[in-house]
Symmetry: C2
Subunit: 272 residues, 2 copies
């Protein structure tokens, strides 16, 4: 194989690592790929790490032990706060107010580059909980769940509003929507979660916390553990949610249908 | 600003370009970022292009004109065919057969790295059609739609099985499921698609083609154009679908519930 120069090695390694967040690649893997000594690869990694930090792209972690190697981890930088402030401004446009005081945000939830950034930001808060999967309920939570799972390198599991014949046997629960007080059902395919696994609950929106609570109860039925709860946007009112501990990227303080006014701001842990 | 060396510039540029497929970055953008002459950046790009091709990671295209620059485009390589062959083997495991002769593939549809590869492969077939958005119908089509849209750098639009009060006014159509012959409804939020835009229809599975046909009719209601139809897996039977022209990554030839046998293979355009 033709010799691969340092700039080429770094280009390829950055591309591979950034495209597979939280996946461990051994030094051997790169050493063989480039036909280069492991010591040289180690030097490359030191350079890459500084580089990704300096340009606010993320971090590289070294994992020791038999299954050791290096992995790319998204990190929080000043630019992430600016990004969230920008989204807050977009969400505050008056024509997003829907009849009933709802906020139209579907367009933002389905823009891949936006939701990828949301997912990476939420993931930074949950790496330490080492989830085996991300769980959400259809439909609008799916993009953010998928992108959070991408950043965490784990699969997504989707609870359905109604069980489908094409997915095999399911477990269903009833839960009460905290805001509408209506009884709802959600189902999860039996083979999708194993006992003892850790699930990270992710959704687009939290008002009373009923859906997150329902997903927690569903996971209890599977004897699975809760790694945490993360949402893109939560409402200031009610202050008391049905779940105690959750991370939200943005706080919806007000939707005033008469005054045509929306007030959204970054969550306090993200403020600069 | 401290001088940025070639290996550092290439590392950062590869990371930025690969993380934003099909987005054009001007040479000025990089020239300012690194405080380096445009001619030097041009040389870097030549190196990167060779590199990404050699290691089968994709291609860099130069776009000329006022809005010109460079962009990263996923490309098809031998490794993509091997990846699809591997997925076909996984899908052929007998315990995936569900009652009624259905095939359990939800786990594969919700693994971010797998579905990202699916999305990039489908996108390679549609860059030339320049879609303004990708459209699918909830629920299982969403991950593949999102990852295809990520590779094409455009938003996703999701048709719903029932219209939701929280998304504003909708347009609904009835369509006939080709396989079950049942009348179904799908709705799309009015503000999500503009007249004259081009929509790429993407779904996980195609049997008779009724859903894709329904999405086409829905787009006609919006006076939008069809950029194409892409699915992950289509069935060999019926050979005659309700849509004529579509791209599928895999072909499901047989699910034999009695013999416990599944036959899936890569589509002919992907065979090595």
């Amino acid at each position: 194989m033709e010799k691969v120069r340092r700039n080429e090695r770094i280009g390829i390694m950055v591309s591979i690592l950034c495209n597979h967040p939280n996946r461990i690649f051994t030094l051997n893997h790169f050493s063989e790929k480039f036909n280069t000594a492991k010591s040289t690869i180690s030097e490359d990694i030191v350079i890459m790490r500084k580089l990704l930090n300096r340009f606010e792209l993320g971090d590289i972690e070294t994992v020791v032990g038999a299954a050791g190697g290096v992995r790319f981890i998204p990190a929080l930088f000043k630019k992430n706060t600016i990004f969230i402030e920008d989204i807050c401004n977009k969400l505050s446009e008056a024509d997003r107010i829907l009849p009933g005081g709802f906020l139209y945000m579907t367009d933002i939830l389905f823009m891949p580059d936006v939701v990828q950034q949301f997912g990476e930001m939420l993931a930074t808060q949950f790496y330490h909980t080492q989830p085996d999967f991300v769980i959400t309920v259809e439909t609008k939570g799916i993009p953010i769940a998928l992108m959070t799972a991408r950043a965490l390198n784990c699969p997504v599991v989707v609870a359905r509003r109604e069980s489908k014949v094409t997915e095999g046997s399911t477990v269903s629960i009833n839960y009460v929507s905290a805001s509408s007080k209506r009884i709802q059902t959600m189902s999860l395919v039996k083979r999708s979660v194993q006992k003892g696994q850790r699930g990270l609950i992710v959704d687009d929106f939290m008002k009373g916390g009923g859906t997150a609570k329902g997903l927690m109860e569903l996971l209890h039925e599977f004897e699975a553990e809760i790694a945490g709860v993360g949402v893109i946007i939560s409402t200031a009112d009610p202050k008391q949610k049905l779940v105690e501990d959750y991370k939200s990227l943005m706080l919806l303080k007000e939707v005033d249908e008469t005054q045509r006014r929306i007030l959204v701001e970054p969550s306090s842990w993200l403020k600069s």
